[in-house]
């Protein structure tokens, strides 16, 4: 092409064989496929607007960022293996994004879990890995925006990995064209109120998922935006008026004042440290909500941190500085 010819082998087309459709998300179709070595992969086919200026800036940045994050090989982030153009039209650029294939998401994992559910140590381990992945994204200024059991993957040996992050802006164009219903159950109230979309929105989702690990069903199952908020207030109580975001279409006064209910009513088996963390995650006001970094240092994880510290196989003390959180849970600490 353009008098440029490929001269090294690592550079050839169509080396993935599609096996089946995994799902049709809001972002397009995901396929199960096989690479040349027979390794299973998850392949996402996405479409991006082909502008006068070529590939949109946002798409280049986001995909380059995903590629850059891959250098860290973070244990709680799904591996991003490859990206490639496929046939394009005048209006659309089509890309295949290839990720490692993990056949089980958290929703399926919870469904398969026999009664009486996950033990407290397993829940704590999963929560630690979840927050560790979210902390890594936030340290790289990535807000997931759509954390839910369906895009949290669990490997056979119990390792938790986040998927589907960072692509919101890449998909932007296509999102506007799809009418796929996106679940509201893990949405932070400020997202529903369209007030802000900063890092705390992910911590709200973590709170919802935390509760779900105990009760094995979603905590807030709203049918619409307003219903979702009502479901939230039913349990947490109507927030104080001064915590209500300014300049939003839904006024505070449109909700009837209800007192908060004790969380133990809904999650009888929750211990006090866990409950304290859950309350800090489910703070209505995003400014008062706990950050991923602070959540990881919460006393609920104290034993977890201590057991990692004393373990001779890794030196956690070094990882306390900044970005390099990867050594914290290199090995899944399933019990």
């Amino acid at each position: 092409m353009l008098a440029m010819t490929s001269r090294k082998e690592r550079f050839d087309n169509n080396n993935y064989e599609v096996i089946s459709v995994i799902g049709n998300g809001a972002y397009g179709t995901v396929y199960k496929a096989r690479d040349k070595e027979g390794q299973l992969v998850a392949m996402k086919k996405i479409r991006i607007q082909n502008t006068e200026e070529g590939m949109p800036m946002s798409a280049i940045r986001e995909i380059a960022l995903l590629k850059q994050l891959e250098n860290y090989e973070h244990p709680n982030i799904v591996r991003f293996l490859d990206v490639k153009h496929t046939n394009q039209t005048a209006n659309e650029i089509r890309l295949n994004l290839v990720f490692e294939f993990i056949d089980q998401d958290l929703a399926a994992y919870l469904e398969r879990c026999p009664s009486p559910g996950l033990g407290p140590d397993r829940i704590r381990d999963l929560m630690y890995q979840l927050l560790n992945g979210v902390d890594f994204l936030h340290a790289h200024r990535i807000v997931h925006r759509d954390l839910k059991p369906q895009n949290i993957l669990i490997t056979r040996n119990g390792q938790l990995k986040l998927a589907d992050f960072g692509l919101a802006r890449v998909y932007g164009f296509q999102m506007a064209l799809t009418s796929v219903v996106v679940t509201l159950w893990y949405r932070a109230p400020e997202v529903i109120l369209q007030a802000s979309y900063a890092t705390p929105v992910d911590l709200w989702s973590c709170g919802c998922i935390f509760a779900e690990l105990f009760i094995r069903r979603p905590l807030f199952c709203g049918q619409s935006d307003i219903d979702q908020l009502a479901k939230i207030f039913e349990i947490l109580g109507l927030p104080m008026e001064h915590d209500w975001p300014e300049n939003v279409t839904l006024p505070w006064s449109s909700f009837k004042p209800v007192p908060p209910q004790p969380l133990q009513h809904y999650i009888p088996e929750i211990e006090s440290d866990a409950q304290d963390l859950l309350e800090k995650l489910l703070q209505f006001n995003p400014h008062k909500r706990i950050s991923a970094r602070n959540a990881l240092n919460h006393s609920y994880f104290r034993d977890e941190i201590d057991s990692l510290r004393t373990s001779s196989s890794m030196s956690v003390s070094e990882s306390d500085s900044g970005l390099d959180t990867s050594s914290r849970s290199d090995t899944p600490v399933s019990k």
Binding site: S6, A64, Y72
Partner: protein, 290 residues
């Protein structure tokens, strides 16, 4: 082939470039913003880039290129530098663009007739990554006297992104130089600090021109920029307190070998430069004092 050949000498006489009224701080706004937000993480980013830089060093990109040799590559980079200055882009954009050129040449054969297209398309891609307002394709095509079309640029953009798998956030020598120089400047005040700002301006100039040198382009970015920094400190008679970058492990032989290479390169260069303070001023104007 290169209708507008660009090198330091040409630029020196080009008053339009030199006396441009545009404020350099405005030009590199995005760059500064970048560092503001990342201050907390700057050390982590430095260590991380140090650990992955080896992945992006291209050493043999001109083997198996029937039509491109090191002289031709030098001309291309020199011309790209001119386009880059003309558009008043951030310095890192040029370094990323040149790295992409080398990585593309490493996996594909390029025809001489399309080298300029390769040059503007890599600037386009690097700009989309780094700049607040990337140049438009039409502006870039204009630099090539209308030899290429928009569709050609768009098509090549796609080929390049595939060839390097969107792996664009590369650790450049420019990043390391800024890290070293800023560390030094921050630890000195007054006259010594001002001297070091001069060293930085000269180092930016030498490092930018080193992109044209095929041999130097194959050195580890962290090491190359350390040598460039040390030589700039000597040339401007500054004192950086014998700064040693953290985490940069190397043997004395390694350092001395590259140091000698850079020394020869910069001596040739400075021999051709009228006077150092003028260079510093020009680079102040291009990329700002802070």
């Amino acid at each position: 082939m290169f209708r507008k050949r660009f090198d330091w000498k040409g630029q020196k006489g080009d008053d339009k470039t030199l006396d441009s009224p545009a404020s350099p701080t405005a030009t590199c706004m995005h760059h500064c913003l970048d560092h503001q937000g990342f201050e907390d993480y700057l050390d982590d980013i430095y260590y991380h880039r140090l650990s992955i830089e080896y992945k992006y060093v291209v050493t043999t990109c001109l083997e198996n290129q029937p039509e491109v040799d090191s002289g031709m590559r030098g001309l291309l980079v020199s011309w790209m530098t001119g386009v880059h200055h003309q558009m008043k882009l951030c310095q890192d954009t040029l370094f990323i663009a040149v790295n992409i050129v080398d990585r593309v040449l490493d996996v594909m054969q390029a025809s001489r007739d399309y080298l300029q297209l390769l040059g503007i398309t890599t600037i386009l891609i690097a700009s989309k990554l780094e700049e607040v307002t990337p140049p438009e394709i039409s502006e870039l095509l204009g630099c090539c006297d209308g030899v290429y079309t928009r569709d050609m640029a768009k098509q090549l953009e796609r080929v390049i992104l595939d060839a390097i798998r969107f792996d664009l956030m590369v650790p450049t020598s420019q990043f390391f130089l800024e890290y070293y120089a800023t560390s030094c400047i921050n630890s000195f005040q007054g006259f010594q600090g001002d001297q070091l700002r001069q060293s930085r301006a000269l180092a930016r100039c030498v490092l930018e021109l080193s992109l044209q040198d095929y041999d130097l382009s194959q050195r580890r970015p962290s090491m190359l920029s350390l040598c460039v920094w040390k030589i700039a400190v000597e040339e401007t008679k500054s004192d950086d307190g014998d700064y040693l970058p953290p985490g940069l492990f190397h043997s004395c032989e390694d350092f001395e070998f590259i140091y000698k290479e850079v020394k020869t390169f910069s001596e040739n260069l400075l021999h051709n430069l009228p006077d150092v303070s003028r260079v510093c001023e020009h680079y102040y104007r291009l990329y700002g004092i802070e």
